[in-house]
């Protein structure tokens, strides 16, 4: 039941009501509400029960194994949250002057430096507020770079077909056209097709490595040379940075620009749409175009660099300094780990993925790229099970929920039919990985005996199988009051 549906006129929770009515008389009359907002009128106890119940119904990393491929749903250490919630951070006004913000600016400056070192890039801006915004910043910088050189013909961005859907979207948002590059059956980019595709129109390539099929592209050096020789730049999508953290640096692979998903690799809470943080790192030639603000250090003092200090910047992407609370949590996480700990992250993330893949293969499941070692994630294709039992990947995913596991990513990437993209992360114990294999094996036995068991799943959750087709066909996104009082 929605909280609006519990509303009764006149019922209030005085303790939660504001002490004073805000004075809005200085707002233009045309912009002021003509009638009261349709806010729910409930008691304090009703509000407490409602949100407590919602939190209990949540399927989250704090309650369940959450192997959602490509999302890196790792444990969010409590220390990061409690330290980022220190009053000195929480109570700082975003418009406070530099002189009153030296502490947090020192943290941000150190975070810029740590991200530079761990990715091998020349400079970092923390400004973008999400991975997709980091992507947009990245391709806008590529465009600014070519434009500044008068190289206006470079209007095409190459995107492998295993890429995240956000890659082509970001390129088009920045005014580019997109050309797709196929993936070979071994999971690597088709290098011959890439060589045919590059030319004087090539602005750059957007690449995720390890890619979304869960393997490290072994031709990265040839890819970098091919694109650079054609005059294009290399963009690194940091979605899968967790697999190589502290081990391999995108800067060393030849990338000119990279975005990092701090909410993935650096363990800030995510899911449900944010908040995130998508810092961008660049090679030397792209530094002038970084989005502002940046934090610079001058002796013992930290300063903001803004539009007037960086006239060639692509500009400002967020209010103030970006998602500060998220940046702080990532900073604390990085400080807790140190350089040694970061290497351990990728070692355990890849070990867990390869252990889980090996056990699933031994249990008779089909790996999409059987001859390849997994990076931090891998793809199982349920094509065989779909054919033999008539149960698809979604049925397996829904049934997993009944066994206490969040479903892996389903039907992504699109090039593998009936796929589950599984990313266990470094956080999980051997026991939870074994439990997942056991559940998958049991579900397959159920599919064999009675496929309907899967098709009706889940049975044990607050909601049963949702009608996603009807939800998409009849969009109903806003609650409307049954009747609005005049």
């Amino acid at each position: 039941m929605l909280i609006q549906e519990q509303s009764r006129p006149g019922r209030t929770a005085p303790a939660q009501a504001p002490l004073h009515m805000a004075d809005v008389s200085d707002l233009p009359a045309g912009l002021r509400r003509q009638r009261r907002a349709a806010l729910p009128e409930v008691s304090e106890l009703q509000a407490v029960r409602h949100y407590t119940r919602l939190s209990q119904q949540n399927f989250a990393i704090d309650t369940h194994f959450y192997p959602l491929g490509s999302c890196t749903m790792k444990y969010n250490p409590r220390a990061c949250n409690s330290l980022a919630s220190l009053p000195g951070f929480l109570a700082r006004h975003p418009a406070a002057p530099e002189s009153h913000s030296q502490g947090i600016m020192a943290c941000l400056h150190e975070l810029q430096d740590m991200l530079k070192i761990v990715t091998g890039m020349h400079a970092v801006s923390l400004a973008p507020a999400a991975g997709a915004q980091g992507e947009l910043a990245g391709v806008m910088m590529i465009r600014a770079y070519h434009d500044a050189r008068g190289d206006h013909a470079r209007r095409e961005i190459l995107v492998p077909d295993a890429a995240h859907g956000t890659n082509p979207a970001s390129a088009i948002m920045a005014g580019f056209t997109v050309r797709e590059i196929p993936t070979g059956s071994n999971g690597d980019v088709d290098i011959a097709a890439l060589r045919d595709a590059v030319g004087p129109q090539t602005a750059g390539i957007m690449l995720t490595n390890p890619s979304t099929v869960g393997v490290f592209d072994r031709n990265i050096q040839a890819i970098a040379e091919t694109v650079h020789e054609a005059g294009g730049l290399l963009y690194y999508d940091g979605a899968n940075l967790n697999a190589i953290l502290g081990k391999v640096r995108p800067g060393d692979m030849g990338f000119d620009v990279i975005h990092m998903n701090l909410h993935k690799t650096f363990s800030t809470p995510h899911g449900g749409g944010g908040p995130g943080a998508g810092p961008v790192g660049v090679s030397k030639r792209l530094e002038p175009y970084l989005p502002v603000p940046l934090v610079i250090r001058d002796g013992d003092a930290y300063h903001w660099q803004v539009e007037s200090d960086r006239p060639e910047s692509i500009g400002r992407m967020t209010a103030f300094g970006g998602n500060m609370g998220i940046l702080l949590r990532a900073y604390i996480y990085a400080r807790l780990l140190g350089a040694e700990g970061m290497r351990r992250v990728s070692e355990y993330a890849t070990l867990n993925a390869n252990y889980l893949l090996a056990r699933l293969k031994a249990a008779g499941f089909t790996a999409a790229y059987p001859e390849r070692r997994a990076s931090h994630e891998f793809i199982v294709t349920l094509k065989k099970e779909a054919k033999e039992y008539g149960t698809n990947a979604m049925d397996f995913a829904k049934r997993l929920l009944d066994y206490g596991f969040h479903a892996p990513t389903t039907y992504f990437p699109l090039l593998v039919p009936e796929c589950l993209l599984v990313e266990p992360t470094e956080s999980e114990s051997k026991e939870s990985l074994d439990g997942f294999v056991e559940a998958m094996t049991k579900i397959r036995a159920e599919a064999q005996d009675n496929p309907d068991t899967l098709k009706q799943a889940p049975y044990t959750l607050p909601v049963r199988r949702l009608d996603d087709v009807r939800a998409a066909r009849q969009l109903d996104l806003a609650w409307k009051p049954a009747q609005v009082e005049g």
Partner: protein
């Protein structure tokens, strides 16, 4: 096994083409394509009057799993689109070769069917994918 009528021509990207015998063709997606996409929830139709080259992306079908481009199987001008799909995209699932047609093209030249597959060749395309 998906339905592949003998009287139609096909593309590698799973469109079907019906020659209407009057210089126009009707285009839709195959039974195999609708089955692979799953329940369709949205169709973006091409603009009437638009000139298309063969293999131009000209429409989009979206299911709960994925959004896919539809390509012009041959060169021509869009003369009619199936407006009814706006309200009932599921028609493509239930009747891909009939009521689920997507648009009609006026052929740019008479030799337009070069490069299209017949039913037998398309059957092979589908089998190779499996």
């Amino acid at each position: 096994m998906s339905d592949i009528p003998n009287d139609l021509q096909y593309t590698e990207s799973h469109e079907w083409v019906r020659d209407n015998g009057d210089g126009t063709v009707t285009v839709g997606i195959t039974d195999h394509a609708q089955d692979a996409l799953g329940d369709l929830v949205f169709v973006e139709l091409p603009e009437v009057g638009k000139q298309l080259a063969a293999k131009d992306a000209c429409a989009v079908v979206e299911s709960v799993k994925a959004a896919s481009d539809i390509y012009a199987p041959v060169a021509g001008e869009v003369v009619t689109v199936n407006e009814a799909l706006g309200d009932t995209p599921e028609t493509i699932n239930s009747d891909p070769y009939g009521e689920g047609w997507i648009f009609q093209l006026k052929l740019a030249d008479t030799d337009a069917d070069a490069g299209l597959f017949d039913a037998e060749e398309y059957q092979q395309v589908v089998e190779d994918e499996a």
